[in-house]
Symmetry: D2
Subunit: 280 residues, 4 copies
């Protein structure tokens, strides 16, 4: 018994769900969950995530892909099948702050985050100990290596990982790196995007006297702190909160937003569309 996920997006039109569900039925599948969304049933854009089980092992993911291709072509859709038995490999980049790293390692170790972690890479040597305790390879790449640094990052990341998480990695990745890596990268931002960009949101929050702070997990694109938002967490604050309090509360928000985003990602619950996300 195997579980697959189909993610598909296309112009909204009649018969999409019928075609997909007939396809699954024909392969003796049973739908576990289905979520769909249309920006407008007349002339809008359509998104669907279907999770289904096949009783027997007679069809591989590749079989499904081949059989579905002509159907998808009819609807002019972007789509893919994912085999939930194939555990994704999540590479982690991290700088000095360790709260997100430790949280991800804990969730992974406790079986709550079903990924493989091929490596943790940092410009801070101090994380070696905790990472090595989990028998995960640790790569130290100092921040001053410039171009050589990025090619080193790439050599570590590109073959061994299916996606990257920047668990508070403070160095900007170049467009060249992003293009060559060419897979999804999830970043956690310590502020409430699309605002509070840049390096010190706590100071900004303090200066503006806001009564709520936030954290944002998002995909990385070429613009710093600009990619599609996946998850946001917020918390009330007040005049009582010092800079330290804001940072501490922010850390909790970051852990929650990043954990939630990664969890959605590895369950194939996220569809990217026009710089935004559908998170089912």
């Amino acid at each position: 018994m195997r579980t697959f996920v189909l993610l598909l997006q296309c112009q909204d039109q009649k018969g999409i769900v019928a075609s997909i569900s007939n396809f699954i039925l024909k392969h003796q599948g049973n739908i576990v969950t289905a979520d769909q969304h249309s920006t407008d049933p007349q002339g809008g854009y359509f998104f669907i995530r279907i999770e289904f089980i096949l009783d027997k092992d007679q069809y591989s993911r590749q079989d499904l892909v081949s059989a579905f291709a002509p159907i998808a072509k009819e609807f002019d859709a972007e789509w893919n099948f994912y085999d939930l038995a194939q555990t994704l490999r999540m590479g982690i980049f991290v700088s000095e702050p360790d709260h997100c790293l430790v949280d991800l390692l804990y969730l992974w170790n406790a079986g709550e985050l079903k990924v493989k972690i091929p490596f943790v890479l940092s410009n801070d040597e101090k994380h070696r100990k905790v990472v090595s305790a989990y028998n995960i390879p640790f790569y130290y790449v100092p921040s001053d290596k410039n171009n050589r640094r990025e090619s080193e990052l790439l050599s570590y990341a590109s073959n061994s990982s299916d996606f990257l998480v920047l668990a508070r990695y403070m160095l900007v990745l170049s467009p060249d790196f992003l293009e060559k890596y060419n897979k999804d990268i999830i970043n956690i931002h310590h502020g409430f995007l699309p605002f509070f960009k840049g390096v010190d949101p706590a100071a900004t929050a303090l200066k503006e006297g806001v009564k709520v702070i936030g954290a944002t997990a998002h995909f990385v694109n070429n613009e710093l702190d600009e990619g599609p938002i996946i998850a946001q967490e917020v918390q009330n604050v007040s005049h009582k909160d010092s800079r330290d309090d804001l940072v501490r509360k922010g850390k909790n928000l970051e852990k929650r937003a990043l954990g939630s985003a990664v969890s959605s990602y590895i369950d194939y619950r996220i569809i990217k569309h026009e710089d935004k996300t559908i998170v089912f």
Copy 2:
């Protein structure tokens, strides 16, 4: 162009979604949204809500019902079609506290709650003024009339309303009334069910020193404060909150929980199953 909703529940089995979506396609319909849930894809129970538009007026709700009946029989399903153009008639019962009544009337008048309100019925004469200002019939039924009271309630409610909302109606409705009315009744409870039952949750909250309070909107069944929960709202409280503060904060929670529950109900987003609800 008309919009319909199909709600259906049955034992989970293969082919349900395919059958339904083929049925819709055959009627030249386009699915707007679909939500489904299975308690267990193998041997569990299956629930689905599908909202779809038919381009032409050639099929009535009755046509759909007749055509779908044999399909539903195959799956041994409970099901119904709803025509979203048919506005539901919401009768309101209310006692002394007016916050939920006023909120419902406002939402209705502002077009945010698409219902008809055939009447407001109360054991408190004071609401007549505000209700009448909206040109809604107001029925005053004092609380001391006992059996005669309930038959009077029934005479007002049973033919004119599709469902009832108890917007803080403090009198218990008898099993006999419930049986004779025989349609859905939504109650708002000023506490966090399944606990804080009974008449004074604020006092209980105060006595127990809780740090969070809640309100619960639920369907009414024969047991007081016991029917399936639809929506719950919560808020932090502290030692600073006096009894008055708890009551005031509770009122806001009640308005939000009741508004949310009624909104889900009239959009046919709620499926009842085994004393619980699926709220899509």
Copy 3:
């Protein structure tokens, strides 16, 4: 028995609390609640709110002011005493959207907002009916009157009100008006300040694909949407939320943020300091 509030701010220094509490004791007062805050106990700025009761009517607010003046001078403080028995007069300006207006009128009528409402002023004639039903004077001032309009606003507001609430008043008040009115004005903004400024935060939210929306109640100063923030409310949203949904959810946030801000204001719980607020 009368209840007074002292609000005071000054450079932090030793002996402030001792001086204040000795002063209250000397007048046979009993402290009900006291809240204080220091930005830094060494060289920072100090804020205090003390609410106290005097058993007898022998001291008026003016007596307290006269007796306290020399003490306050010692600390070089900004300060004032407020008599909680003196109900504040809250003028309301409102444009087309009525949700905040209706909510304020309800809270006032239910005794949950202890203010007087000397008038409601609008550039939309449609509110006359609901306002008049409460026997509150309603002034209609069309938006096209330019300079004459503002002098008319001023003539209505300046003597009759102690503070103004802009309950979704969409017309910008000129610096001249603000200077001549010269009392506090509370505005509700339908977005998460200091961002989402301007006229259509829902559209911005939709475009940016945020997962959380907010509303902000703040004091008005010369910059549009720029004054000190008093209260912010937030709520999760998702791709499912249409523009209408965002507006509807936003309205609830606006009501809650504005209600909370006005409530803090009339209890003298707010101290303004350097474009920010301390809200005790």
Copy 4:
């Protein structure tokens, strides 16, 4: 420069704040923060927490205690001074689930929880590795030792710790143990007290179909899951949440509620009164 906290409770009466602030001024202290609460300014009960700094080291905690004793006697108060430089020793008891343990260790190691951890004690040998990695003594006490077990617990805990945290310790401590240990014990309960008592709140939540779940940190007294509530965290759930989801979400709530409660405790922000807490 040293920072002290005074916690005091007594019948509300005039002059308490004046006496305390004069006392602090006389010792050349400067108040950092002060929080107070009265259940009723006339005949109620009064609580205060004052944090103050003394510029010089000329007064020890014992000096303050001796000098304040006659003042406190006047008001018939319960009270104590605490020296914030004296780090509290927090013993940890834990059973199989490790999420709270790992979170406390992380917060402690990151300097966010300023305590000493003299030991971790468990009836599960598996925690030895992670605890030892932090160079914290680990004691394994199997659950089947009955009376001998408790005397062993006591021998480990009573002299080395100032308070205990039950970070998901599933064994009930006997009244005899509680009496002999005779210091504060903080427990985390995986449900929304005063309800959801007992062993499996997730199952109860699932069965009742609630839409919100909670976790509660509270002091331990003789009744199981009955002591004064310190902190509660809540989260929305829905029909989509499986038992595993509820457990996982519950774990996050437990970590947050316990972390918050311990943080308040070590800052001396909690006053116990009549089976409830004042948390400043």
